[in-house]
Structures are given as C-alpha cells and as structure tokens.
C-alpha cells in the first residue's frame, strides 16, 4: 500500500507560491482579455514575488529536510532564495518596461512573416514572458534547496526551459535572438544529458539519489569507485555549464547578446545565484568529504574561467558581449569561493552573489536605455561621448563598471576582498594570485568604457539615452544604491550572512 508523502507546506511555501502563480499566469494568458493582460500579469507577478519573499522571511529560522527529504531548507537556502527573489523582482521591473519595446509582439510569428507584420501593426504585446519568468524563478528557488538528484534535475529544467524561450523573444534582430534561444536550448539539453548521466552513475554508486544518502555512502567507503568518479565528473559538467565556467562557457556571449536585454539581466543575476547555490550545497555539504578530489579541478577551472573571461573581453566591441565575458570572469572569481571550502568561503560566495547580482542587473538596465531609432545600441564605438550627453546615466554606469572592476567603496571591492581572503585563508594561493591578476586585466576593459564615455567626443548618429519610465528608473536606482551601500556599510549584511549561513546538519 502506498502512503501519502508528508509535505511541509510552510517550508516549501516560497517555491509553491511562485509556481502556483506561474500556473495562474498561464490561465490569465488564456482567459483574460488582451487589453487587461499586461496589468493583471504584472500585478500577479509582483504579488508572487512579494508573497514568496514573505514566505522566505518566515522560514528564517527553519533548518531541516522536507518533502520526504527532497528539499533542504536551511540558512543557506533562505539567503539564496531571498537573494533570488530580490533579483527576480528587479528583473521583472525591467521586463515590465513599456516605455520602449524589448520583446517581440508575438513570439510564435516567424521573423519577417506577414503574421509578424500584423502583430506589430496591431500594437499589442503578448505577455507570455511573465508566466515564463515566474516558472524560471520557481525553478531557481528550488535549485539551491534541492536535496536529491532528481529534484535537482527537475529544478534545473524548470529553471532552464523558460529561459531558452525567453532568450528568443527579442523584438529587434529577431534572427539573432532566435538563434541564441536555439543555441542555448541545444547546449543546455546537451549539458542536461551529462547531468542526468552523472546522476545515474551516482545512483549506481550509492543506491540512492538523496544527498545525505550519497554522503553517508561516501563516508562509509571512501575510495575511488569508478561509478563515483564518472558520476561526479558529469554532474560537475552540468553545473559548471549553468554558471558558464570555462570550457563550458561558449554559449554565454551568444545568448547574452541575442536575448532581449531585460532577460539577459534577469538571467545573469538569477541563474548565477541559483546555480552557485546548488554548487555550494553539493560540493560544500554533500561531497565535502572528497574535497581533495574535486578541489584541484576547481582550481584549474576557476583560473581558466577568469583568464578566458578577462582576456577575450578585451577584444570585444559590443557592450553586451563585454558584459557576457565579464559574467564569465565573475564566475571564475566566484569559483575561488568554492575552492576555499571553509566557512568564510561560504559566507564570501553568498556575499559576492548578492553584490554581483545588483551590479549586473543595474548594468544591463542601463544598456536598455541607450538606443537609437532601431532599438538598443550595443556597439561600443557608438557609446563614445555618452558622459557628455547624459552625465547622470553615464555616471551611474561608471559606478557599476567600477563595482564590477572591484574598486574600493563599491560593493564589488567588498565581495572580491571577502572571497579572495577566504581562498587565501584556505591556502589556495594560486587562485588568489590568478584572481588578482585577472582583476587587474579586467579593470582595463571596464575603465576603457569609462574613458570612451567621458573622454571621447559624442557621435552624431542618433544614439541617445531615452528617459526611463519609473520601473526601469527604480531598478537602476535600487541597484546603484545597493552597490554603494554594500560598498560603504557592508557590515550588517556580512553579519547577517555570517550568522545565518549554515547547512542543515547530517
């Protein structure tokens, strides 16, 4: 006889609320009239995020495994889910921008077809992006909480599938956007296969898919079982793909460039937090006992990722591609926190994710504003002299770039300082040296954009900064304030992470 599984709704509430709202949003898309959809969808999305955040706050002191051990809710989960929801909110604000169009009127219409013309002419905008975003957020919330290989895989897919679609929704340069979506899907599916393959091997090794089960089997028989090695390697590939670590990063520039910029912003912040959350749980908690096995791999991957990200970024001429390589480089910096494998490494990684998310969201938000008649202008040469034309926006963008470069008094410095000192503390000097060198190289291409904006003459080619509507302005404002506050008064956040960030015991 089958007994009904015990479900602790309170602990799972953040995920459940967001996914339920996502389902509701699908119904809204089907039944609410076109003209009202935008209002209903945005309200529903923001309500989902707000309620989800409330549920996270209520889980503050929870620590345990729930839903028959499939989900772990502990301090780390709470911090990560809170961070994800804040970034999701900021991303949604960008997606909700209607002052200018980032999304195609009708995603299902073929580029250049009569259907598309008609959709454009009607002036109406499909709102399927909202339920898609909510599903992605739901997946992202579950990803770092998953305590079971199957749950982890489901979360990964729930997070990824909407993103593949969302990447293809750009209004301008439809073909590039659809190509990006397709590439992301193909490579994502490919890496998911690795992931699943690895899970199967791990199941073959441990006879269970739960993390604590695998942990106890490893503890009982430490050794070099081939099933374990293969399983572990393939699982690592799947996760490293998601955080765009080298050599699994190649999708990132194409997708970041092709996707509508609000989606890029959302993806850059939310996916990174979720994927690093999962990596933390697996490598710090589940297979922490095998640190001597996986640490060398992470050292190499981390250094390689930093090098690839910073060096190739120098040769880029498109602002979104620069930022994509910058995202890759930051994954490398974040991996030094995984290499550290100590409490300060855990705290530092969580802090870095928070600081990086705000800054990257802000950066992409500014990118949405620099436009000409044909849409966004991402060619860096056409950004020259922006500081003279729009001093405020250029100033804020400079702040974000300085934060990405890790200049003191911005959040980027605090994050880098914390994560490098954690790695240093653990004795992995090589990643610290590589990290500092990479930061120096990275500063070059960030500062180059600043120089371009301030010291070159403006071009008379119709590039201008549009006045943002309140939603985008709010996002940029929040991100700028967070970047400054976390740079000047980081201590409360550091203390909160320090006291909260523990994994559930066992």
């Amino acid at each position: 006889m089958i007994t009904a599984p015990k479900i602790e709704y309170g602990a799972l509430a953040p995920v459940l609320i967001v996914l339920a709202c996502a389902v509701l949003a699908v119904l809204v898309e089907a039944f609410v009239s076109r003209r009202q959809r935008y209002v209903v969808q945005t309200s529903l999305s923001f309500a989902a995020i707000a309620l989800g955040f409330l549920a996270v706050l209520l889980n503050k002191d929870v620590s345990g495994r729930f839903a028959e051990g499939a989900v772990a809710v502990d301090g780390v989960t709470v911090i990560l889910q809170g961070t994800i929801l804040i970034f999701a909110l900021l991303g949604l604000l960008l997606i909700a921008e209607r002052g200018f169009q980032s999304f195609t009127a009708q995603a299902s219409a073929l580029p250049g077809s009569a259907d598309e013309q008609r959709a454009l002419a009607s002036g109406l905008q499909q709102t399927e992006v909202f339920p898609l975003t909510l599903f992605a957020v739901g997946g992202a919330l579950l990803f770092p909480a998953a305590n079971d290989l199957i749950t982890l895989f489901v979360a990964l897919e729930v997070l990824s599938l909407p993103l593949y679609l969302m990447a293809g929704l750009s209004q301008r340069r439809r073909l590039l956007s659809q190509e990006a979506g397709l590439k992301y899907f193909l490579l994502g599916a490919f890496s998911s296969a690795f992931f699943l393959f690895g899970s199967a091997f791990l199941y073959g090794y441990a006879g269970t898919t739960t993390f604590e089960g695998i942990k106890s089997v490893i503890r009982a028989s430490p050794g070099n079982d081939m099933y374990l090695m293969v399983g572990l390697s393939m699982l690592t590939v799947g996760l490293l793909f998601k955080v765009s670590a080298a050599p699994f990063h190649s999708w990132t520039p194409d997708v970041y460039q092709g996707a509508p910029t609000p989606i890029t912003a959302f993806m850059a912040a939310v996916t990174k937090v979720a994927a690093f959350g999962a990596i933390l749980r697996i490598f710090y908690s589940t297979i922490g006992g095998m640190v001597w096995t996986w640490r060398p791999v992470f050292v190499v991957v981390s250094i390689l990722t930093m090098a690839v990200g910073t060096i190739i970024a120098i040769a880029q001429k498109d602002v979104k591609r620069v930022l994509a390589y910058s995202a890759i480089a930051h994954s490398g910096f974040l991996l030094t926190g995984i290499v550290a494998f100590n409490k300060s490494g855990l705290d530092a990684t969580l802090l870095y994710l928070a600081t990086y998310g705000f800054t990257t969201l802000g950066t992409f938000a500014v990118v949405t504003l620099v436009r000409d008649a044909g849409g966004e202008v991402t060619d860096l040469n056409r950004w020259s002299g922006l500081g003279k034309r729009s001093p405020l926006i250029a100033g804020i963008f400079t702040l974000f770039l300085l934060a990405l470069a890790g200049i003191p008094l911005t959040s980027g410095f605090i994050g880098k300082f914390a994560i490098f000192s954690a790695a240093y503390e653990s004795g992995n000097i090589s990643v610290v040296i590589a990290g500092v060198l990479a930061s120096a190289v990275a500063a070059f291409f960030y500062i180059r954009i600043v120089v371009l904006m301030y010291f070159n003459d403006p071009q008379e080619d119709g590039t201008s900064v549009v006045i943002p509507s309140p939603v985008t302005a709010l996002t940029i404002g929040i991100c700028a304030v967070a970047t400054l506050v976390l740079g000047i008064f980081p201590q409360p956040v550091i203390n909160m992470i320090n006291s909260l960030a523990t994994f559930v015991a066992g």
């Binding site: 590439k183 070099n224 090695m229 490293l240 050599p247 699994f248 190739i312 550091i494």
Partner: protein, 637 residues
C-alpha cells in the same frame, strides 16, 4: 577607563552638512548662506562647551571620551572602522577651533558682504571647521590623516577663493604643493606605525612603544616622518615658504586657518605623538632644531615685510617656531606649547582681524608704507590691535607674556650648552618680535598720513569690531587665567603623563624672576629700536627704499627661500620630469603597448574558438567533460 559620548559626531557633522548644503543649495541660498554657516559653527561651539563642562565634571584621569562611529569592514583580524576621541588636548583645540571659528564667521558676514560668492565662502569655512575637528578628534593616525587632508583642501580652496587673479591661484597651488610634501611624511608615519605596531590608533601605537615593539631606529624614523608632516602643515623650516603666499586668501581665512588653527596642527601632531618623541631622542632633537631655526627665520623675515599681512604671517611662523621648540623639550614643554598655541590663537587672530579691518577701511591696501596715523580714524581697531600687540611681544600681564616666558624659561633649563643656546635664541626672538611688531604698530597707526589719494579710512561695522573686541579680551586675560595656580598645566597633565611641576621643582639655570627680567629687557630693546627708527618725526618713504643693505634685501626675499626651492627642487624637478617623460615614452609606454598588443593578439586568437557554431561549442563541452573526468580520476589514483 574612558567614557563614551554620543555628541562628538555632531561636532563634525553639523558644519559638514552645512557645508554640503550650502554648496549644493546653489544660488537660492545666497541670501541666507552666511547665517546658516555661522549658525552651524556656533552650534559646534555650543556642543564643544557642553562637552567641556561635562569633562570638568569628571575625575582628571577619566576625562577622555570616545565614540565608535562605524565599522567599515571586519573580516577576521582585519578590522577597519572609525572612532572619535576627545581628551583634554583635543578639547583645547575644539574650543579654539569652534570659538575663534565662530567669531571669524561673524566677522566674515560683514567683511565678505560685497562678495557675490559669500555663500561659497561660508561653505568652505564650514568645511574647514569640520575637517579640522576631525583632525583633532580622530582616535587614530588614519582619521587624523583624513582631517589633515581635509583642512589642506579647505585651505587650498580658501587661499584661491579669489582665483580670478592668477597670482592668487598660484599661491593656492604653492600652499597645496608644500603641504603635499609634508603629507608624504604623514603617510609614511601611518605606514611605519602599521608595520611596527600593527595598529594606527594613538592608543595602539602608544602601547606598542611602551611594550618596546619597535627598535629605536624605527621610532626615530616614525618621529622624523611625523616631524616632516608637522613642518609642512605648520610652515616650519624648510617648508615655510607657502605661508606668506597664503595671505592671498581673504583676511578672515588668514586669521582662522593661517594663524589660529590649521597651521598649529603640526604642534598638535607632535604633542599627540608625545609617546613617540619621548623615546625617539634624535627625532626630538630635530624638532628642537626646526623650532629654533624657524623662530628666528620668521622673525627676521617679519622685520623686512611692508605688507601688513605678510608681516603677520612671518610672525605666525616665528611664534609656531616657539611652540615647536617647546614640544621638542619633552614632557615639560607640551603644556606650555599648548598654552602658547591658545594665547597665540587669540592675539594673532585678533590682529589679523584688525589688519582686515584696516584693509576694509583703506580700499584693500596692504602696504604699511601707505598707512599711518590711523589710530584717530579707527579707534576700536587701534585698541584691539594694540592689545594684541602688547600680548604678542610679551608685556605683562597680557597673554603672550605668560606663555612665551614659560617657553624661554624651560628652554634655558634644558641643561648645559643646549639650554644656553636655546635660551639665547628664544630671547633674541623675543627682542626681534618686539621690534617688528612695534614697526607694524608704528607704521600703521602712528606717524603721518601716507595714504593714496581718495582713501577715506573709517571704522568697520560692529559685526567686525565685536569679534575683534572679544579676541582682544582673550589676548589680555587668557594668559593670566591659564597660569593661575598652574591650572592649565594640571588640566593637560593626564594626557602627557608628565610629572607635574617639572618646572619649579627642578633646578633652574636662572631664577624665574631673572628670566622674566631678561625677557622684558629684550622686549624693551626691540621696542626702543623700532621707536628710534619708525617713531615720532621719522619720515617713512611710501616706496620701499632700494639702497638697503644686502641683508635687508635677502630678508625681503623671504631669506631666499623661494630661490632655494627653485634651485634645489624646481629646476632639478623639471629636468627629472623631462627625463622621466622620455623614459615613460620610450620604455614604459613601449612595454605597456607591447603587453597590450600581446594581450590583444592572444584575445583575438582565443576569440577564434568562439565560432558561433553549436557543434564546436558542444565539442568543447565534451573535451571539458573528459578533462574533468581525467583530472578527477588522476587525483584519486
């Protein structure tokens, strides 16, 4: 042992916010800017007074209070934050800065009333007050450094306030550069302190010194670095040249920044670091030498200046020389240095305001050769300036007598040949001071009218005269009050841990009464010579005579300090810059460009892996997966 106070931050915050408000508020605040600025300064003064009375209510050894402001970052042992610390020494400064500062704010309302940028002027004054308070309230060399740079910035902005005149802008730049040289000393000191003691707080360094954590060489280097900083900020030899040029700023600025407060920051720095100098004997001797040289240097320049403000500036230099010399004498000297600093703050600020008042009435004329007989036309200015004059030359019972006399006394008591040399220098300085100050007095207020045509001197408005009167009262009474029952020395005693009565109990070279007599004789000689040269019936040419001795010429040129700087630093500096520019162009730029283009080559090479083909991306993933598998397997084998 120390209490806490939550008020300290407001001392700094109020003038700082006022400055920001006035600067950001724009023209809309033009009508009220001066009032806001004055109120902010007064509010700081009131807080200072409240803290002072609270301090007097505590037992002498528990009078220091601290306030933790914030923790910037705290990771493991690495802890950076900021605290404020107020003890008796800082208290003297807080009252001087806010008290004299407020008077000068009030004075400036009238003095600057015709300037259309008065709001900006008050914003800078407030900025100065805030920075100077941070300088004296910081509990570490690092926060002191922030304040130190802040006052340097405010000083630069105010000297160049009328920067439409290129000469003034150049003067501001000169002051800034000379100060930078000194600041190198302070940053070196911070680094030495951190390396040697792992701390930059005053208490941390003091404990480190006491525990013998540093070698005597390191301590002397630390002392020398601190002295360099003090020399730059306090216009001491050999970095004194900027002070004369700094007189380009509006006169209230000269009174506040370049007489009463900022230039005395060097004295504060050395007194605050007494724990270093007490054990670093070589550095302490250097302090003595610097003080003694500057004392005479300033006095000699003062004799030759016809510009009333530059004469006063030379005098400031010389008087600070006295203070520095006193701090160089060790524990017995600090309290007297502080006492002279405070009395000097009163009388010198008062005299500068008097000079401003004279200029106000004389169409901004600064050449004393074109003054004369002003006592009838500006009676209040005459009386207040005259009281300041009596105080500075050291006539009893005016303030300067007590403080200067004590310095001469302890200089003589320094022992052996050192005592006799220092004592003679201080006495000689007193005589010269009497001479050049009498000269200023005689040329300005006595003798015949030598005014330019169209000058109608008149007394200044009461907003200007009242601050002058208050400062004059201070010049008359401060010395007596401080000296009564040694109360000032006793007040500062817990700070310096000096055995009280270092004077009086110790064997004197000469009895105090004899010292006073000697000093007064020196003053009398100086005054007599001045009267003989510039007194009744002597004709003073309105153009400085050129057939003077070579010594006078040299003194008029600031004892060739500018020429020296030019020959020693500027020309070699220019040559060095040229050489460096060539090296930079050929070697460094070449290397950078080489690295840059190499990186770009690498980048464009690596970029070729980014083909855009999904199949090649997928291949990379496979390669990566195999590499990871191989690595993990290899590690475990």
């Amino acid at each position: 042992m120390n209490g806490t106070s939550q008020m300290l931050v407001y001392l700094i915050a109020i003038p700082l916010f006022s400055a920001a408000f006035l600067l950001l508020g724009g023209r809309a605040l033009d009508k009220v800017g001066h009032i806001i600025g004055t109120l902010a300064s007064s509010a700081a003064f009131v807080i200072g007074l409240l803290e002072f009375f609270a301090m007097l209510g505590r037992a002498p050894e528990n009078r220091g209070v601290t306030q933790r402001l914030f923790t910037w970052i705290e990771v493991g042992n690495f802890n950076v934050g900021a605290s404020l610390f107020l003890d008796q020494l800082s208290m003297c400064f807080v009252l001087l800065i806010t008290g004299v500062g407020t008077l000068i704010h009030i004075y400036s309302i009238a003095y600057m009333s015709h300037d259309h940028d008065r709001r900006r002027f008050f914003a800078f004054l407030n900025l100065f007050i805030a920075a100077m308070l941070l300088l004296v309230l910081g509990d570490s060399y690092l926060s002191l450094y922030v304040g130190w740079e802040g006052v340097g910035l405010a000083s630069y902005l105010l000297i160049g306030f009328w920067n439409q005149k290129p000469a003034y802008a150049t003067a501001a730049k000169k002051a800034f550069v000379a100060n930078r040289v000194g600041d190198v000393g302070l940053s070196l000191a911070v680094m030495i302190a951190f390396v040697q003691f792992g701390s930059v707080s005053f208490s941390g360094v003091a404990e480190g010194v006491e525990a013998g954590k540093a070698s005597s060489l390191a301590l002397n280097c630390l002392g020398a670095a601190l002295l360099l900083a003090a020399v730059g900020k306090s216009a001491q030899f050999p970095l004194q040249a900027w002070l004369g040029d700094a007189m380009a700023g509006p006169t209230p600025v000269s009174a506040l920044i370049h007489a009463a407060t900022m230039v005395t920051a060097g004295v504060y720095l050395i007194s605050r670091s007494h724990f270093v100098f007490d054990v670093a004997t070589i550095a302490q001797t250097l302090v003595l030498i610097v003080g003694a040289i500057t004392l005479l240097f300033g006095a000699i320049i003062g004799m030759a200046k016809d510009d009333i403000k530059k004469a006063l500036a030379a005098s400031t230099m010389s008087q600070i020389g006295y203070m520095i010399l006193a701090t160089g004498l060790g524990p017995v000297g600090y309290a007297f240095a502080m006492m002279h600093l405070l009395t000097h703050g009163f009388f010198k600020a008062g005299m500068f305001l008097g000079a401003g008042s004279v200029m106000h009435g004389m169409n901004d004329e600064v050449d004393m050769r074109k003054y004369g007989a002003l006592r009838k036309y500006m009676p209040i200015t005459f009386v207040t300036f005259g009281l300041g004059y009596l105080a500075i030359i050291g006539v009893p019972p005016f303030a300067g007598f007590y403080s200067k006399d004590k310095i001469i006394e302890i200089a003589l008591d320094a022992g052996g040949a050192k005592g006799i040399i220092l004592g003679s220098i201080t006495l000689l300085g007193a005589a010269i001071t009497a001479f050049y100050m009498s000269r200023v007095m005689l040329m300005t207020f006595f003798g015949s009218k030598r005014w330019d045509a169209g000058t109608h001197p008149h007394e200044s408005p009461s907003l200007m005269t009242i601050p002058m009167i208050i400062l004059a009262i201070g010049s008359v009474t401060a010395g007596f009050i401080f000296n009564m029952g040694d109360r000032f020395v006793k007040f500062l005693e817990p700070v310096f841990h000096s055995e009280h009565g270092g004077h009086g109990e110790k064997a004197h070279l000469l009895p105090p009464i004899v010292v006073s007599a000697l000093a007064l004789t020196a003053v009398a000689i100086g005054v007599s010579i001045a009267i003989a040269k510039y007194g009744r019936g002597k004709e003073i040419p309105t153009v400085a005579p050129s057939d003077v001795s070579v010594w006078t010429k040299v003194a008029r040129r600031d004892l060739l300090q500018d020429d020296l700087n030019e020959a020693l630093f500027m020309r070699p500096g220019q040559e060095l810059t040229k050489a460096l520019a060539i090296v930079d162009e050929k070697v460094i730029d070449g290397a950078v460009r080489g690295v840059g283009s190499l990186t770009l080559d690498v980048a464009s090479g690596v970029r070729k892996t980014q083909t855009g083909f999904v199949r090649s991306y997928a291949l990379w993933i496979v390669v990566g997966a195999l590499a990871i598998l191989a690595a993990i397997t290899l590690v475990t084998l």
